[in-house]
Subunit: 526 residues, 2 copies
């Protein structure tokens, strides 16, 4: 402790209170809330049951972490040279090779990063937040919505600020509804008392004038800001509802209300991959990287999994009592196996979504000039958005997400070469921030359907009664399945983790039952 | 540099990437955006014009900082034993004495703080943000709104989540407006084409069913969260509009849309007083603490200011060419002066608002149990709100603001003894978070109208044509006035700083004019 105290004192001397505080935070000395009592498995003695886990994404890592606590002997086989799966943070020097033969290498400046997969954690994803606490991964606020960000439909004029779109819409709706109530149109629905209360409500809701007209509101932003002396604030003219209808950016305006996108959201400081890296530090040599699974077979009551080292080319086999398979289904379908026929067809029957993301390094013109700090600007067209970084506010440069394309109907954009996609992204950013398209540097683009060992962003089901989903939610003998694709949360990491917790509970229940049976047998023999 | 690198390497060895990064951030090594070119005064040679500045709040400190850059010789007289004025961060050991004779001493745990005055910085307060950049004050996001926070009117039932109140309101409004349009009530306002577009818009705006009814929405939160396997999400029943009208929490629901309260907002890491402390480090001995001004008089073309040392009792006098007065007007009115009569009556004619704030130290039950991370819950009644901390998320304890009372009509509450105010705050927090009223410890309460040398939170004018405001916006001979009370921003720090910038520009213009006149006189003599 003396050393640690001396160390902190030396930091205090050099950098003052803040340096000391931040270093204590970084070293985990400030204390954290007691980890959520999230024990999917009962603690157990060292029974030594062997589980081979395929895939070191969030499902595989969290499963291995919990299974070990409960006395299992685990091995995690991971085809890539890193943990995390789709949780992939790209930094200077990271190579990105896709199945179309493109190769990119990040030249981002030191310290900058790009979460090319998941990039935010909602407040209610308590399994993920719980692991961050338990593993000591420090989080910061991810600003997912900002009233200063922009909406831009090139077909309907210049960009407008989110604060204006949202509050002018509310004002104009309130005015219209007030008129309708005045005219008696809602007398069936509203009593005289309700009507009176509604009128008072609408005035406050829409910031209407006393005669219940909407003539603009400070909420929508100001043309000139107030100052000292005679420098008075002046109001903006409201954007007419017709113009807002022309823009047709309603999904963008309501994005912040999606349950998974509501404030408060978080991100790990330094990149989303701090989470899988924290798991990996706990699991150490249990995770075998560069291990490409080539065959998943039954052996006796258990399994035998063959894999090839991606670097040496050498093949190996591992035997276990159980196999927990978290490999994305598009990839799994191509691996030799002796699953039951209904499982094979279940696996083959699942389609995956694609997601294209494009990242740029840039001077932070959006902060210094437009006073946008985090949040998302939305554009009409296939690039969808411009997502501003929530890390290192007020610093010189940052990573700007210049496209996030997941919607249907954008196949044409998805089919374009990277260079054309970059051009389109730059053009839309130039539209949002005139004069700054030229500031964008070092682009990188990812198409998750083309990322080896992923081949998509998330499983797509019509609903969760889908035959494949139902089939794979139960084990096939010693083969157990888990991952985002077996949760009802879509592509979210939380789904992968909850699926893993459910599946390892099934494994543990089976083991306990087997032990009991075997004890009964021994009694019978005696 | 070698030392600094070694130092960082030692941190890296002890705490890894994150410790290094945070320490670099703390030491200001990551670089910051070029400070906004905010030069209220032209740079100047050392002309040595003397300015005595009364008050070391944000106006006085920023004025001294800029005047020095422009060649002025400044002295700042501050009555308190600290800089910052109403920007006051209370920590363990801080004494709070009020004019009613109450004395409190903070027992908050080490590392915790309470911004008892200003506590947030909007994105568009660029003078304040500019100084934070220029002075190297690190900022973090202040979560001013969260969909997980609560609304609670004890007269109308249990607390409900902000996400539910906001989105059920929107849904029900959309349904009503759709019906009214269907019934032709708005045919004067809407063409047939507009009506069609409105119907599509309302479905998306309110998350309505295809037949345009509102039956609840995922946006309003879920009764059960989705999981893996068969664990399906289930929807909440919507809160009927009548119930929302009964609650009558509209101002609370719309708070986040106030121009000064919109995301993204910031706070200095470690407390708001990091800003005045950063100014003070630049100004060094120019700021004289414990200097209680007793008389502000003219002397020749300039001024003579008398002051008494609050500790030694000794009196002194200082002479200067100009006097910049930032003392709050309620305090200034009690100081001997020879201002012109119209200035005296202007000063006497300004009323100030009051603000009561109550702070508690507590375990972070709102995070660990309710998954509320920052933002504000609102309660009916005089305590108004519960404001959750945005610093050190996921740590064990935090400072909870349990009351913020500024509204008219709460005089009865304001007149109560501290202990009764604490009881009322605890009762409302217990209502929001049943079972956790007992977790609240170490309360402190401030009433800004009773804080010596402040005597209020902000000047109140009917409008900015008010005679006092107009009068004091111009100088009285060598006496110049600045502060929040001479801005159009109310209590915001930005107003104090903008007022200071305007006033020092007047001083500088006067000096230049005087120099020119004197040069002309010298010519004439020659």
């Amino acid at each position: 402790m003396a050393t640690r105290r001396e160390f902190l004192q030396s930091i205090g001397a050099a950098g003052g209170y803040r340096a000391t505080y931040l270093t204590m935070q970084a070293l985990g000395l400030l204390g954290t809330q007691a980890a959520v009592a999230r024990t999917p498995l009962e603690p157990s003695t060292a029974h030594g049951t062997r589980v081979v886990i395929l895939g070191a994404g969030m499902a595989g890592l969290s499963a291995a972490y919990e299974l070990r606590k409960a006395g299992y002997v685990c091995t995690v086989l991971e085809a890539r040279d890193r943990v995390g799966g789709r949780n992939w943070t790209i930094r200077r020097g990271t190579s990105l090779e896709m199945t179309d033969g493109t190769r990119q290498r990040s030249e981002f400046s030191p310290g900058l990063y790009w979460n090319s997969g998941p990039a935010r954690l909602p407040s209610h994803h308590q399994a993920m937040l719980g692991y961050c606490r338990e593993l000591g991964v420090p989080l910061e606020v991810e600003v997912n919505t900002s009233r200063g960000s922009l909406l831009f439909n090139p077909g309907a004029g210049k960009p407008i600020e989110m604060r204006q779109a949202i509050n002018d819409t509310r004002g104009e709706i309130a005015e219209l509804l007030g008129k309708a109530i005045d005219r008696g149109a809602l007398d069936q629905e509203l009593t005289a008392h309700d009507k009176e209360r509604m009128m008072d409500f609408l005035r406050r809701y829409g910031d209407l004038t006393p005669d219940r007209a909407y003539r603009g509101s400070e909420r929508a932003g100001l043309k000139t800001l107030p100052g000292a002396g005679t420098q008075a604030a002046s109001a903006r003219d409201p954007v007419p509802l017709g113009k807002l209808l022309d823009m047709d950016m309603w999904s963008a305006m309501l994005f912040e209300e999606g349950f998974n996108f509501q404030a408060t959201m978080f991100q790990p400081i330094g990149g989303m991959d701090q989470i899988p890296m924290a798991f990996a530090r706990k699991l150490k040599q249990i995770v075998q990287l560069n291990s490409v699974v080539t065959a998943i077979m039954r052996k006796g009551e258990g399994v035998a999994v063959s894999y090839r080292n991606a670097q040496s080319g050498k093949s190996k086999q591992i035997e276990a009592d159980y196999c927990l398979i978290t490999i994305p289904l598009k990839v799994l379908a191509g691996i030799e196996n002796d699953f039951s026929p209904d499982y094979r067809s279940a696996i083959a029957g699942v389609e995956y979504g694609n997601a294209i993301k494009i990242a740029w390094e840039s001077k932070r013109f959006w902060e210094s000039k437009d006073h946008i700090y985090g949040g998302i600007s939305w554009v009409a067209g296939p690039t969808s958005l411009v997502w501003y970084p929530s890390d290192r506010f007020f610093s010189e440069t940052g990573i700007l997400l210049g496209a996030y394309t997941t919607r249907g109907g954008d196949e044409a954009f998805m089919a374009k070469p990277l260079a054309d996609q970059f051009d389109e992204s730059r053009r839309m950013i130039e539209g949002l921030h005139p004069g700054h398209g030229a500031d964008l540097q070092k682009p990188m683009g990812i198409a998750w359907s083309k990322v080896p060992y992923s081949l998509g962003i998330s499983a797509r089901y019509r609903n969760y009664q889908d035959a494949s989903y139902v089939r794979l939610s139960d084990p096939d003998g010693p083969f157990y399945f888990a991952g985002e694709h077996l949760s009802q949360l879509g592509a979210w990491q939380e789904g992968a983790v909850l699926s893993a917790q459910r599946t390892i509970a099934m494994i543990d229940a089976h083991r306990r039952q087997t032990v009991r049976k075997s004890a009964v047998r021994q009694h019978a023999v005696r």
